[in-house]
Symmetry: C3
Subunit: 268 residues, 3 copies
């Protein structure tokens, strides 16, 4: 895979297909992630209650599940929507926000992984490693200081789950257990804005709705997202002005820019 | 009616009366629509649960009901608040977000229309036509490509419901079944920002809290809203920077500008 | 107390300790207050449901309770989290949004004050006086036009509750019943942006997580918050552009600026 070309092609696919992305997500980031979806060229819909969450799936090209503000009823609704997505062959993308922080979140993440066929999990290192390390399922989680150690653990976990895992951070790692892509695009200012992690998962869901290979979708989305972050950071005077510039940059991305500015590589 | 003068007078009334507008609305747009309310010169309050939704009505000059993120308990709370508003003679404004997309939303919209006396319904063409066309209540919904056909159908539906209907889009149509106003203000960039449709309904609620005639309130609000959108689009470099400039433009509107920049006409 | 130095020291403490602040707050302001938390140098977490609200407290340096969008289940969850915070010795900060507007809110505020040990209450004059005046607990609430009368009433109430009370407005008053600090920083534009009051309480929670004396935390936070508001108003062209500039200004504050720009005094 040539990550730069994959990202450029993925963006063109999202822009061309204008897919609807169904979000069942947390209350803090709803507005931001709806705007991220629009700026990438997709269309957001958010229907959280169990009376309509599964039915809404029939309009969607991807389903995003984000457990950032949770209650037990929402988990049931996520499972209903996720089953509908699985039946329809629509990719399900999971953002396990706060896994490890409370029992409710950790159990919710495990329940969703057990009940549903998840295409991509996207979270920060702490969340992914909490997921991988709980119950001792994946060894070595406790000493993840070195990036190469982290890649090994995440890759093993992705292989075990048979899905793509994206670990976001200063450098993003995307792997399906066999292939590993490292994405260096992005900017530290993104860490000072709430919802930029959730927004990365939204970008992956938009790409997954338009691109067949979930690894290509995830890597391409993170490259585009990081490039927009770099452009926004160059224009912004702080984390507040970053947000409007970031949305402008996402909307202004084109395939040529993406191919030129991508900093990503497939590891051997 | 002279729409430009109506809009200018309406804005002055909102600024002069500073009415409170009670929103029971969706989680995605709450922050944006609260800020739109403030920028127009009204005051937002949001009290969604049934234990206080009706009681809060006594402080308000209008009640806005938006079904964009819904659950059955919220529909009951909307009915309780709506009944209180009807008893107090306060206008109730409905935004039937997503009507036609799921059974829950379509049924909620019908239940609200049946149980409450609604002053203005504001939605996009898809939502209004789903509402009008369901159960075959209004004929001809299936072939709405031509604007004149659409005006006929919406006008007939408004007459049947005895309320004002505003259809937002590239050109907005506002009708009470007899009079029809066409508003051309606005900018395509508004379609790339989540909540701009919901915000238009918020603007109508602000005007309806300060202006007696709901048709004049709706037309005047959409003219002002569109003018602010044009000003914001001229300043913005994309959908992200559009939002702060749009709120600035709403706050900066004055009656002279509105009278000068309105592009609207009453149809015969 | 030298308020300017207190504020500068407080900011340095927040930046140095990077505390986690747990918010159980209203849906309208979640995104804004999470960003305010980040820009001040703390880390936000929001876990509202009773299945995790208390458990999440163990990660936090302060707990903020805001009743701006309420339901009975949320009050129970606030009590559970508040009890956990009290047991752990973590300060609990209360924003009694809308107290006096509905019975649910007034009762919720009283229940939280009765069940929990609250460190700081922060609200506007109407909310604080509704709280103080209900049940005739504090006399003289009905004629609070003069600032000196208001200081007396609030101070008496703070003494009675044995907590710090911050009354936000054109001039902020912070008192523990003995000491009284008056803060003049801030800008009128903040009144046209939803959530700036809630954000002030968030700032207090961030400072309370890093500073031992709750009076110093509250006064220092409001000084810093007001200085950032002044800087943002100087850069903004209205309430819309104010928000991103305000977040930039919060992130850009440093102790030297704060000590230089503070306009606050301890009253005798």
């Amino acid at each position: 895979m040539n990550p730069a070309e994959t990202a450029a092609r993925g963006l063109a696919a999202v822009r061309g297909k204008h897919p609807m992305v169904h979000h069942i997500t947390n209350s803090v980031v709803m507005n931001l992630t709806a705007n991220i979806t629009l700026c990438l060229g997709a269309a957001p819909v958010m229907a959280a209650c169990i009376q309509e969450s599964a039915e809404m799936v029939r309009h969607a090209g991807a389903l995003l599940l984000n457990i950032g503000t949770l209650d037990p009823a929402l988990v049931k609704s996520m499972i209903a929507a996720g089953n509908a997505a699985n039946s329809a062959g629509i990719p399900v993308i999971l953002d396990p926000v706060g896994t490890g922080a409370t029992l409710l979140r950790t159990e919710a993440a495990f329940t969703l992984l057990k009940e549903l066929d998840i295409s991509v999990i996207c979270g920060n290192a702490g969340e992914i490693l909490a997921l991988a390390g709980a119950d001792g399922k994946v060894r070595g989680v406790d000493s993840m200081e070195r990036l190469d150690r982290r890649v090994d653990v995440v890759s093993a976990y992705a292989g075990m789950l048979d899905c793509v895992i994206a670990v976001t951070g200063e450098v993003d790692i995307v792997t399906d257990g066999t292939r590993v892509v490292r994405v260096s695009n992005g900017h530290p200012l993104m860490g000072y804005v709430t919802g930029t992690g959730c927004g990365a998962t939204t970008a992956i869901a938009c790409f997954a709705a338009a691109v067949d290979d979930p690894l290509e979708a995830a890597a391409g989305a993170l490259i585009c997202y990081g490039i927009a972050g770099e452009a926004a950071a160059a224009a912004a005077s702080g984390p507040g002005t970053f947000v409007p510039y970031f949305l402008d940059a996402l909307a202004g991305l084109d395939s040529g820019m993406v191919a030129r500015l991508a900093r990503a590589e497939e590891l051997c």
